[in-house]
């Protein structure tokens, strides 16, 4: 009996491989069929490419002040117009997009890391650990995000600026705080997945084959819990971008010399009557990014939902 176990395991892993690959290609096929999600992916790829490559191609400095050309609408010299100091808006939006997207992705990674750890710990250990962690999750869920974000920014802003410099200090603080306030849905999802998955036969098989707890979790349970986490993570990127823009829009995010999209809107909002383009372009950039990320999340939800895979 004992000698059969390894062959069975080898057999299983052999059979598991091609099936796993086709599962992802199947998911990709289903994602492509969701027309709006595919469209969102195209828009997002375009935005990311523009933001990454754009500043190398469009070599206008973001802080060149030219009072003769201030508050101009779109023209050949300034495709998206200029602000009240005559700075080129296209260059500023391209540069700001890097920061907005970086904040979104970094905050998402933090939220997902905390969420997966908390959820996995709660789901795996159960008992008192589970109870305590879930109470903590509930507590965090009832914290009002923006006011708390504002409170933390207010209290820690100056100290971090001194230690890490204005740009890095604010970036790290914003990312950590946004990520630290958005992990709860992921934790709940992961915990629920763990509770149902750890009773499944394949996990029991791994357990009876003597897999240590860490391997059970990392190799067998987590990959199967990944679908909803990917979806939640995608939505989190959009939410983090909005959170950062909101902060900057209130004038409490990045300093004025770092033109994130929200910051440009903040500067623009008092000049709406004579320079509407100044607000409309960065606002549209935020809107398009968030919309396409949300559609991608929607498409992924359809593509990764195992119930739907089984149903077809």
């Amino acid at each position: 009996m004992a000698s059969r176990a390894p062959t069975l395991a080898a057999d299983l892993s052999l059979r598991g491989r091609p099936a796993a690959r086709s599962l992802w290609s199947e998911a990709f096929r289903r994602f492509r069929r969701h027309r709006l999600a595919a469209f969102g992916a195209v828009v997002l790829v375009f935005m990311v490419a523009a933001v990454l490559v754009g500043p190398f191609v469009y070599r206008v400095p973001i802080d060149e002040i030219d009072f003769k050309a201030k508050l101009q609408g779109p023209s050949w010299a300034h495709p998206l117009g200029t602000d009240d100091l005559g700075q080129d808006l296209l260059a500023r939006i391209l540069y700001g997009g890097r920061i907005s997207l970086a904040v979104g992705i970094a905050a998402m990674l933090i939220a997902v890391t905390i969420g997966v750890s908390v959820g996995a710990a709660a789901g795996h250990f159960g008992g008192t650990t589970d109870h305590t962690l879930m109470r903590l999750t509930d507590l965090f869920l009832s914290l009002p995000q923006l006011p708390l974000l504002l409170l933390i920014v207010y209290l820690f802003r100056d100290a971090l600026k001194k230690v890490l410099g204005p740009e890095a200090g604010i970036f790290i603080m914003i990312v950590v705080v946004i990520g630290g306030l958005r992990w709860m849905p992921v934790a709940r999802l992961v915990r629920a997945q763990f509770l149902s998955l750890r009773e499944k036969e394949f996990v029991e098989a791994a357990r009876s084959l003597g897999a240590p707890a860490l391997r059970q979790v990392a190799r067998h349970i987590l990959p199967n819990a990944l679908g909803p986490v990917i979806v939640a993570g995608t939505i989190d990127v959009a939410a983090a971008i909005i959170a950062e823009s909101s902060l900057s829009f209130l004038g409490l995010g990045f300093p004025p010399d770092i033109p994130t999209w929200g910051r440009i809107l903040f500067d623009a909002k008092d000049n709406l009557d004579f320079a509407p383009h100044w607000a409309v372009f960065p606002g549209t950039a935020i809107f398009l990014t968030v919309l396409s990320i949300n559609y991608i999340g929607d498409g992924l939800r359809d593509a990764l939902d195992p119930r739907k895979v089984l149903g077809q």
Binding site: P147, S246, I286
Partner: protein
């Protein structure tokens, strides 16, 4: 029912204590002294500053300070504003009604939009109406409130010149005129918040109704000859609302985010804009108190949602 409410109330107390602990920890961890203003003021001699510190117990251990702070917060003693030299509670009570009015109306508008549209979408899934509604909901949900606010101002105040874009608490008019001016200035903030809420809610309502509309008891209702209207409204929607109430409760912290931003855009004199101006003026007691009030409102509305949940779903036993 009464016992259930009491039980919920008792659960809310530790949650509030937990929130206050989080807030106090943040404040205690923060670098710099909240009373720095006094310490750096050259008109205040060192000894006086030290005596003041002693009087306010600033050098006591953290736990002692927390218990004292929570105790006085619970008794309604929220301290003085550094800037305007009035009681924080007076300041907040002045602003709170405006905030609650705008928030409440917006939430009502959101529900009035979401319920019929979400239900109609779910009753005829993938029809033209459903596709248009779902797309609009997605767009509305992805439009950040600060951008919608700016677009509204651009269109309704600047281009059409129909609505004022500054909210005034002191309108120099009486009678009908006063009501009219109030309604006019509230339209944009309420619409911005309400449409955003409505868009998010429409998606919830649609998927919730979609879940129940396929169930057997709906077929039974149709088979026994009930009209489509009664089937949908009385049988499907009422059951679909149960998960929606939970989701609405979970959404509440997000509503406050939108409220702070809309109040700032339209200069609504509520607690959201008070929070921003206090941050700009380094008014720590007011900032702490407002964050606490927001948390308290979240707990309160969660409580209401729980009670509503119990009323909607008779299967819940009031233990």
């Amino acid at each position: 029912m009464f016992k259930y409410v009491i039980r919920r109330l008792l659960i809310a107390v530790p949650v509030l204590a937990g929130i206050s602990l989080v807030l106090f920890t943040i404040l205690a961890l923060a670098p710099g002294d909240p009373f720095e203003e006094l310490a750096t003021n050259p008109n205040v001699p060192r000894e006086v500053a030290q005596a003041l510190r002693k009087q306010f117990g600033l050098d006591d251990p953290v736990m002692v300070r927390y218990v004292r702070w929570f105790g006085s917060m619970a008794q309604g003693d929220w301290g003085f504003s550094f800037v305007s030299r009035v009681n924080v509670s007076t300041l907040i009570l002045q602003r709170l009604p405006t905030s609650l009015f705008v928030l409440g109306t917006a939430q009502l508008l959101g529900i009035l939009i979401a319920l019929p549209i979400g239900t109609l979408s779910a009753v005829r899934p993938y029809s033209l109406f459903d596709q248009v509604a779902t797309t609009l909901a997605f767009v509305g949900f992805s439009l950040p409130t600060f951008f919608t606010g700016i677009l509204f101002i651009l269109f309704f105040s600047i281009y059409l010149d129909w609505l004022p874009f500054i909210y005034r608490a002191d309108i120099g008019a009486a009678g009908w005129r006063w009501w009219w001016e109030h309604a006019r200035q509230a339209i944009m903030p309420v619409a911005v918040l309400g449409l955003f809420q409505g868009a998010a809610l429409t998606r919830f309502v649609r998927s919730a109704v979609l879940e129940v509309i396929r169930l057997d008891y709906i077929n039974t209702a149709r088979a026994k000859g009930l009209s489509e209207r009664v089937t949908v409204v009385k049988h499907a929607v009422r059951n679909a609302l149960i998960p929606v109430v939970t989701l609405v409760a979970l959404q509440i912290p997000t509503i406050f985010t939108g409220a702070v931003i809309t109040e700032q855009i339209f200069r609504v004199p509520g607690i959201g804009s008070l929070l921003i101006s206090s941050i700009l003026a380094n008014d720590t007691p007011v900032i702490m108190a407002i964050t606490f009030v927001f948390s308290g409102l979240v707990v309160l509305f969660n409580l209401l949602a729980d009670i509503l949940y119990g009323w909607l779903d008779p299967r819940i036993t009031y233990r």
